[in-house]
Symmetry: C2
Subunit: 115 residues, 2 copies
DNA sequence: CTCATTCGCAACCAGGAGGTTGCCAATGAC
DNA sequence: GTCATTGGCAACCTCCTGGTTGCGAATGAG
């Protein structure tokens, strides 16, 4: 079954890395920031004030959707995208853990030195 | 001067995207997790139990260093890498902001509906 | 019905990311 | 002094990414 702790950890790493990878692009990060403002937006709306083509925006939205960061919904001839905050939360928690590990390590080092 | 809010926001987006991009790879994320355990490690140490070559690990470490996530220090013939938690903290705060925006948007929507 | 919007699909392209191998220099161990 | 470790540098390869253009299909507006 290979459900060892290290295997599970590796899975978590990969899944989390996918989220970070989706966020690791200025255009996509701006899209997420825009969508987190609240209202769902159509592709054309999102591409309107951008220097890029609608097609480029579409591709970025597909990347975000594949990572679970946004959701798609068709309304008439429009395709509306909305924020999906769960993976964002997961990513934030991952950084929480790493930061806490680091702090604890510094703490141990400090007590070791002061002893 | 072009120091408008939107320009500053775009800069922040790009800088933060660079950090996320550096974290957006399973190998690099594992390296960060490993280094956040506390002790600085040499390249050979980090590559020891990996399926990848030492060269590959070296490249990943260079990416992490360019993003400011780790720091390098030469000690004799070894090159020690250590965690640098500041950018991690920045990235986490960015996710905090996005999450809070989303929550507020949901709150506004709720009051709008209930009114 | 007609027509402008909105979008998806496919082909294509340049460049960068991830990885390998080979080789050489520096450095510590004995 | 000799030798094994350690790692930097460069060349090379493959594949994915980010972007474009062109075109055709739905779909709402008039």
């Amino acid at each position: 079954m290979s459900s060892s702790a290290s295997a599970r950890r590796a899975d978590t790493d990969e899944a989390t890395a996918a989220i970070f990878a989706a966020l690791g692009d200025g255009t996509r990060l701006a899209l997420v920031a825009r969508l987190s403002q609240g209202s769902a937006c159509s592709i054309s709306q999102l591409a309107e004030h951008s220097a890029l083509t609608r097609q480029a925006i579409t591709k970025h939205l597909q990347v975000l959707e594949k990572a679970g960061l946004v959701s798609r919904r068709k309304s008439g001839r429009e395709t509306l995208y909305a924020c999906q905050p769960r993976p964002l939360h997961d990513a934030r928690r991952y950084l929480d853990v790493v930061e806490r590990q680091w702090d604890q390590a510094l703490g141990r080092l400090k007590t070791f030195i002061e002893r």
